[in-house]
Symmetry: C2
Subunit: 256 residues, 2 copies
């Protein structure tokens, strides 16, 4: 099996390294990931500036892939169009430091990289580990869970462009409660900005770190993760509100 591994935390991030180690049990792994952290990059892409690449090696100085001075989605594009010597059987993105659930799925560079792979008709899995402030994240342990879920996803043949979002709950909260297949929660988060003044008297804002989702729908990625379940959400990237098409078509639309 041939796997493209990417992420949004950067090619040297510990979450990627831990996941790569587990993925090697499935076959060949080529890592093509951002040179620098790209958290909350969403599905941004680089159109106007060049994308420098650099070959990257493991501790035994064996080549493992390329660092790209670009976005997560750029890495997947470049991998599929230019850098990979083969067509991958699977694209894995992660393991992200911090969960990607609810509407945060749309901000996530980790998930965007997986969606980019699906654009090119490859099956792709995004994997994230819930963050807590208690301790450094236990990526090696979380990766042993991630690889079990990936193996179970692979038991059934994956159609072209199959797309999965997997979240591992914080291991500091206690034992894993189990595994749940759940939809993305789409209720709002509460956010907060600090208003401050710079040394030149200019106003600036700084996003607070306390994201709270006060009213999640039950049995979604947000609630299941809070209950210490590993969550699996099948994704798609059609943003059309299909249910609204018919009503809109009944209206008369004209321009002069």
């Amino acid at each position: 099996m041939r796997i493209l591994l990417t992420n949004d935390d950067g090619i040297y991030a510990p979450g990627l390294r831990a996941l790569r180690k587990e993925l090697l049990s499935l076959g060949e792994v080529m890592t093509i990931a951002p040179a620098a952290e790209q958290s909350a990059a969403g599905h941004s892409v680089t159109l106007l500036t060049p994308l420098l690449i650099q070959e990257v090696f493991d501790d035994e100085r064996k080549p493992i892939g390329y660092a790209v001075e670009g976005r997560p989605a750029d890495c997947v594009k470049l991998a599929l169009l230019e850098l990979l010597p083969w067509k991958p059987d699977l694209i894995v993105s992660g393991m992200n430091a911090g969960s990607n659930a609810g509407i945060n799925v749309l901000y996530s560079g980790t998930v965007a990289a997986a969606i980019e792979g699906a654009f090119y008709h490859y099956p792709a899995i995004a994997v994230s580990l819930e963050y807590t402030k208690l301790k450094p994240l236990d990526f090696p342990k979380a990766a042993t869970y991630a690889i079990q879920i990936i193996r179970q996803i692979l038991r059934k043949p994956l159609g072209a462009g199959s797309l999965f979002n997997v979240n591992i709950p914080s291991l500091e909260k206690g034992p894993i409660a189990g595994v749940k297949v759940v939809p993305q929660n789409i209720t709002a988060y509460t956010e907060r900005f600090d208003r401050r003044m710079d040394p030149r008297g200019r106003t600036y804002f700084w996003a607070g770190s306390d994201l709270d989702c006060p009213d999640p729908h039950s049995e979604t990625d947000v609630t299941a993760l809070a209950e210490s379940y590993i969550t699996i959400t099948p994704l798609q990237y059609d943003l059309t509100a299909h249910a609204k098409l018919a009503d809109l078509r009944e209206q008369s639309w004209t321009v002069e």
Copy 2:
């Protein structure tokens, strides 16, 4: 009527100025947009660095809003949480220089700003003008079409979080063929990178400008726009592949 206007081309972009002029016929308009161009920013947001703001004035030195040194989605967050003196009745994003149809909807900062507004339960409309290399874009003319579509969207009461993606075809191609309500095309584009070498011998890639969508589904935003129709696509931001939930739930999922 109170309108928040934003974009991804930057607060001084001619597309925003043309659209603002038309929107003033509907009521009060406050402009809160990126200080610099943010094309293809997708739904990226700024979590780790400060967001400087600066008040912006029109040619008569009357205040029109704020420039934000951040992403389109940051602008909408800041507007709704900190900067707007009122709750908007409508959020408009654009008019973008270049269409946002097909999977490009996911790369678009223009659309992401509208989606961010929908996260906060406000109705939002993204407006884009198809780009051609023939001539400078005729934003003032295109804005007269955009405002007609926006007025027609407003004829029916908009539910909280109603979201629309509007594309105006290039006016260089000939007369507008009409208006179509269509879903987002989700087939792939063909893309190309130039492989080059920098003066230090390092490899870099540069994304080509010739995006082609060779096999669009018929009666989608991509095909209707190609036929010179103005397109209206109702959007949603639930990325769950709901049709796949039941099958996945039938599988047995465990971790040890």
